[in-house]
Symmetry: C2
Subunit: 360 residues, 2 copies
Amino acid sequence: MAVHELRVSLGDRSYPIVIGAGVLAGNDALARLAQGRQVAVVTNDTVGELYEARLAASLAGAAVCVSIRLPDGEAYKNWASLDRVFDRLLQERFDRQCLLVALGGGVIGDLTGFAASIYQRGVDFVQVPTTLLAQVDSSVGGKTGINHPLGKNMIGAFHQPRLVLADVQTLRTLPARELSAGLAEMIKHGAIADPDYLAGLERDLAALRACDPQALAAAVLRSCEIKAAVVAADEREAGLRATLNFGHTFGHAIEAGLGYGQWLHGEAVGAGMVMAADLSRRLGMLDAAAASRLRETIDAAGLPVRGPAWAPERYVELMGVDKKAQQGTPRFVLLERLGKATLQRVPDAPLRATLLDCTG
Amino acid sequence: MAVHELRVSLGDRSYPIVIGAGVLAGNDALARLAQGRQVAVVTNDTVGELYEARLAASLAGAAVCVSIRLPDGEAYKNWASLDRVFDRLLQERFDRQCLLVALGGGVIGDLTGFAASIYQRGVDFVQVPTTLLAQVDSSVGGKTGINHPLGKNMIGAFHQPRLVLADVQTLRTLPARELSAGLAEMIKHGAIADPDYLAGLERDLAALRACDPQALAAAVLRSCEIKAAVVAADEREAGLRATLNFGHTFGHAIEAGLGYGQWLHGEAVGAGMVMAADLSRRLGMLDAAAASRLRETIDAAGLPVRGPAWAPERYVELMGVDKKAQQGTPRFVLLERLGKATLQRVPDAPLRATLLDCTG
């Protein structure tokens, strides 16, 4: 079975993404990076039990290799977990030349990447994403961070990995709900940047949901290509990169209002994309058939297509602390057509109409 | 009285340092940066009481301006203080376009700069250093961070300010001991890079210790020029920048062993420089007259010239977690002559001899 490799171009911070079935075991690129260094694998109890042993061959050349297991779940993406990592690294006297390996989903990847970015003012790290969402989203772009009680991902940094290994075999143990959450981000990539990819996802949805490795590897590759192209053009999120937040202004409000962990991030983004498409239609940008087709695709991926039944004022309040906000006024990523996104401020009336029609 | 201005050249992260007596009040560069933005002044109880009001004119054009006062002291350069800053910024709904102003010494500067580097993955900040040490050291170079119970400055980031305002009038309220601690870093700049500057400091020591504004402004300017030149050539501390750590391997060991806050950082660096010069002499690099002259200058600046009376093994152990260490073996910044530094590993025997002779 083919192994895909993609290079994210960011000057001296460029790195490869290796995608395929079984790429975890005996990977040369990881072995070269680990050779002679202090290495810490950061993972959680669930994923560590399933996959940590597969990394052993690649890490055999390390000077020392320790395992740091954190509790599993978004609730632990916080300072206390980060500090457990720092405690261990300092107890083991890890220096600036050490290497952190993030083995797990988005929580582990974001937290480990952030730990790497601020441990001794920055050390190298490798992403080994084991969820579909992490493979297509958080492993590309260098966004790292933790949550704060007053907002998700509010504390963080941009820090690029040296290597990403996306092994689609690890997705077989993923709950169906989490697979769907990953599909949400892939549908998003199609919707903002590539109508052919979106059509391909619609066609292959059954194979993807059944964890067909060829279909998964091809789709993960295309999603990573799209995200990598956007990030390479706009690393610090000045403009273009913000289109990757399609569905996220509404989605973050849903997550914040329900309390993190009630809906998966991808589920909130699923409903958020339906809302953003509806808003695009109301503003005369997207035609009704396209908005409706996107809604059906999101539904067929096993994702929610309506937000929780809150008053529009509640949504607006929750969107006020969104990171894309400029002094309180949120901007929205909207669709001009399927495959083309744009960022703009929105009048109150159509926003309220969307919040009334697409929720409850 | 002349106002000096120096530009730190770091591509699109370049910034000016404005140095002089009275530059805090009604500063145009700060007013331009603050115009229309959400601004938070982060300071401590002591400095805030003395100097925060002087910033009012420069910050009058801000959209909103809040004051965050932290307890005074190195013991508070920790995650708890950082989290107080984040709590307030999120409560006030500060977005990514906000501006943080660090008004205080190194603790406030390092902590506020680090807060700026990781709040919403990075916002702008301005340094207003009010101690001599911060004016010549922590305000140039973009090093930010906090302490960890297992090591000083172990958690941090490189994040450049947009502007530094060094007002030498604020040094009049500085305790003599802290003024001497600042002189330690200035003597270091002369010792590693500029023998003429070192001779000038020796000549002007009395005026500097008496807080003569002209002498202080000229010396702060020269120290900032030296550090800025080193940082511009080597922002990420790969090689040249490490020479700024002259005296710091020993100094950090002293601080760590005594418990932070017993000796001031500059005091530990003072004794550390005497030890590093002694080690340079033993290795046949620095002549005995030069080592002795440096020792006398450090003494005349009101700084300690001997480390605490610990066994060499204790020093070696304490130096093991130094950030310059590579897998446990510390490298030392040594002097080839006054004005020229180099970085190298050192055999055990001369190191032990220095640790026995220069302590107790």
